[in-house]
Amino acid sequence: MTEPAQLNTDNTVNDEAVTAFETSGPSPTSDCKGFEVRHLVKQYANADKPVLNDISFKVEHGTVLVVLGPSGSGKSTLLRTIAGLEPIQGGTISINDQVIDEGRPGTEKAGRSNRSSALRTRIGMVFQSYDLFPNKTVLGNITMAPLLVQKRDKAQVEAEALKLLDRVGLADRKDAWPHELSGGQRQRVAICRALILHPEVLLLDEITAALDPEMVREVLDVVLELAKAGQTMLIVTHEMQFARAIADHVILLDGGHIVEESHDAHAFFAHPQTERARQFLHTFEFE
C-alpha cells in the first residue's frame, strides 16, 4: 500500500499514523479524483421546498471538507444522503468518477437509497449519538462488518482492529462492553469501527456534540491525526477552532443552499466573503 496522495502540501505526514490508519484498503488508483456531489436535491414528501437544493462540491482525495451552517440548514441531511440513509431526488453522488447514487424522483417517502452493501462500505459514518452495538464487545463492534460483509480472515481483522484501537489509545479496552466506556471512548471505538472497512470517505456528523467537554479533545485529536494520515473526510461540526484547524475546504450551508465555499479555510474564518457567513461566524465569538 502506497501512501495516499497528499494534496495539501504544507504539512509533514506522520509516517506512523499513515501506516496505522491507511492499511490494505481499496487502493486509490492513479486517476483518483476524490469524492463529488453534483446538483444534489433532497426533497421530503410533505415539504413545500427541498431540504437540499442543487448542492454541488468536490472533495479531493486526502483532504478534509468541513460543512458549517445553522441548525436546520441541511448539514446532517447532506451527510445522511451521502451515506445512503436517505434517497436523493436529484443529482449524483460519485467516488472517483464512479456514480454511486443518482437522484430518482418519486423516492420522497422511501427510507433508504438502494445502494449495494459493497458500495456502502466505501463510505464510513460516525454519528452524534455515541452508539456502539451494546450486544458486542469493543472488539466485536469493530470486527463485525469486515467479517460479515467483507468476509475477511478473522485473525487478520482482529490484528488490524487491535492496531486501530492502539492508535486511538484503547488497546487495553478491547474486551470491554460499550456500557463500560465513556462517551469519548465510545466515539473513538466508533471511528475504528468505520475505519476498519477502509472507507474512501469518512463522514463525521457532529461527533462531539453530545460529549462532555473534557472528552471532546480526545476525540478531536484522533480526527486530526486521521486528517494528517490522508483520510478523506466530510465533517459537520460546531467546534469552530477545530474546524479552522482541520479544514482544507469549507462550505457554509443555509436554507438548503451553499451560501459560501472556500478552499482556504484560514481566509474563510478570517475574512468571510458573504454577509451570511459573517453573521454565522459572529455567533461563535465572544469578546
Partner: protein, 219 residues
Amino acid sequence: MVFDWSFVARYAPFFVNGTLMTLFISVFGILLAIVVGLVCAGIEIARVPVLRQIVRIYIELSRNTPLLVQLYFLYFGLPKLGVVWSAETCAIVGLGFLGGSYMAEAMRGGLEAVPKVQRENAYVLGLTPMQSITHVVMPQAISTAIPGIVANVIFLFKESSVVSAIALADVMYMAKDLIGMYYSTYESLFMLVVAYLVILLPISVLGTWLEGRFDYARR
C-alpha cells in the same frame, strides 16, 4: 381435620401424571404462542398492510376474552362447524391463541425499543437487512423483551390449569377429582401447590438467569 400424609403418599403418582400432562400442554402451547407472537410482532414492525389490521384484531380478541371461553369455543363450538379436535389439541391451540397476543406485545415492545441509529449504523457498515436483524436488532430486542416473555411463560403455565374444564387430566383436574371423591381438600390442594411450584420455581430461576445473561442493552 387432620392432615393425612398417607393419603399424600398414596395419591402422589396421580399428581405426577397430572404434572406431566400440564407440562405437555403448557410446553407446546407456549412454543406455539412464541411462534405466533414472533409472526405478529414481525408483521406489526414491518407495517405489512392488511395483515397488520388482522393482527390488531386478533390481539384484541385474544386478550379480551377468557381462556375458558376460548377453550369452550374450540372444544364445544368447533365440532358444530364440523371440526373435531382432541382435548389436547384444543388445549394447546387455546394456550397458543391466548399467549400469542401477549408474546406479540412483549416482542413488539422489544423491537421498538431498539434505537433507529443502531439500524443506521448497521446499514452504513454494509450489513444486509437480514444481517442487521440477526446481529444488531434481534439481540437488543430480546434483551428488552426477555422479562416480559418470561412473565408470559409463567402466566401461561398457570393459565393451563383451565384445561381441566375440557376434561383433560392435568394436575388441576387430579386435585378436583380427589377432592370430589374423598373430600381430601387439604391434602389435594397441598399436592397441587407443590406440583405448580415444582414446575414454576425452576422456570422462574431460569428466567432470572436469562434476564441477567441478556441485559446488555438495558445497562
